[in-house]
Amino acid sequence: MPTTTDPHAAAGDGTAAAVPAIRFENVEKRFGDNVVLKDLNFEVAKGDRVTLIGPSGSGKTTILRLVMTLESLSDGYIYIDGEPLTHELRDGKRVARSEKAQKQIRKRIGMVFQQFNLFPNMTVLENIIEAPVHVLGQSKAEATKRAMELLESVGLPGKANAHPLQLSGGQQQRVAIARALAMDPDILLLDEVTSALDPEIVGEVLGILRHIAETTDITMLIVTHEMQFARDVSNRVMMFDGGRVVEEATPDVMFTNPQHERTQAFLHAVLGSGDGHIGTH
């Protein structure tokens, strides 16, 4: 797509690896008069696992929803693999991209929601093969075979014909993860995927995500309150506050030696411990 590429992407060393998977450029998001994100710039490299942390209302969910095109962008640009997602700069003007162009990019992005959002009018298997068959055009046999493998890998091999509502929250979330993976996304967005779960089943879902992180090269953008999980899975942590990135670092640095006082205060509050350290084993 030569006409619609990220002008900055080509400025690198010219190799494909230099093009970030996700790039926010001067992004602004308003809800009415409420400016949630302002002049936001950041990049997520291909294969990166980035965790967003920050106080409630800082705009973490909004960032994921913008990438998934669930919210409209008020200003600025988002590039996916160097390609503009919803808006592009054409002849010096910011113009919206066609629904068709957006859909092509959206197909490469998957999202897992806090509330699972499985389709209750379909069985578990139907939930997983729905989009591969009807969006990607796979044959039913092919999609079913892959769905069975995915169900196996999330530990639910016997649940293909169950109804979503017959499953526990943890099981539903594992199906939702399988459903997202069935689309073979390049980018996976995870918004507090364990917040609606009972504490004792949080571990099983995080274990599966950890396994995906270890065995695939999917770029992940993660919002979580599970700092241990952030530490295990991500290679970069970004601290948000007031709609901006106040600090970004590797998890080791971020959780043991945060530089910014906002980060220190936030981590102190969520970790609830005197020294703000976790997982220093």
């Binding site: 929601f113 969006v135 109804h163 509502l165």
Partner: protein, 243 residues
């Protein structure tokens, strides 16, 4: 009293003819109303302001004008404009448009009550607008709209009685005839019983549809289970299972 039943036996074939007309109007009207309800209900959610406005205007128009006048218009005025339709077609058209306009609001409301998370999941899976609606949203909205649609269906059944104004000899027309050979109490009593039985059967059918639609969403028992008479043991077992 005996002569009443003799008269009823004598009039019975004609009453059955009238019943048939009433059923044709009810079922034809219901089918047309459903199509119109879906078209207008979906249309009134469109982004395009012209199409949306048009759908809303049609809904308001047919809800805001009386069914009798609409029937008169189709039957007496359209022929003058060169379009003469059979009385049955006029009846179905009038009932379908009128109740379709009401039911459109039910369709629209039910679609709006499907949780936004469902829409968002379809977007995250890159489903197209029509796939979203046909494969995910409408099947869920359907279970929500059945109770209100049942209500309108029963209203429509009763509403069919006014078609005798446009020369159709329906159930009401023939029981009215019966009144001349019997007495008011008897004839209207017969009429009440027949309408009640049809309404009851329609309600049972719609309830079965609702049970099935809910079961498909993983809520409640299947239709087969619902229809199986419960012995104390199975009921107890079920209670035990739920507990």
């Amino acid at each position: 009293m005996e002569s009443n039943f003799e008269a009823l036996a004598e009039a019975w074939p004609r009453i059955l003819d009238g019943l048939w007309i009433t059923l044709q109007l009810t079922l034809g009207g219901a089918l047309l109303a459903m199509v119109i309800a879906v078209v207008l209900g979906l249309g009134s959610r469109l982004h395009n302001i012209v199409l949306r406005g048009l759908c809303r205007a049609i809904m308001e128009f047919f809800r805001g004008t009386s069914l009798v006048v609409q029937l008169f218009f189709f039957f007496f005025v359209l022929p003058q404009l060169g379009l003469a339709l059979p009385a049955m077609v006029c009846g179905i058209l009038g009932l379908g448009l009128n109740y379709g306009a009401y039911a459109a609001e039910v369709v629209r409301g039910s679609i709006n009550s499907v949780p936004t998370g469902q829409w968002e999941a379809t977007t995250a899976l890159s489903m197209s607008k029509s796939q979203q609606m046909i494969r995910v949203i409408f099947p869920q909205a359907w279970a929500l709209m059945i109770p209100s649609l049942t209500n309108y269906l029963i209203h429509m059944l009763k509403g069919t009685a006014i078609v005798s104004f446009i020369t159709l000899a329906d159930l009401t027309y023939h029981t009215e005839q019966l009144r001349e050979q019997t007495d008011t109490f008897f004839a209207y009593g017969v009429s009440l019983v027949i309408y009640f039985v049809i309404a009851y059967i329609l309600t049972l059918i719609m309830n079965a549809l609702e049970v099935r639609a809910k079961h498909r969403l993983g809520r409640g028992e299947s239709l087969r289970e619902a229809l199986t008479p419960k012995t104390p043991e199975t009921a107890a077992a079920e209670g035990g299972r739920k507990a």
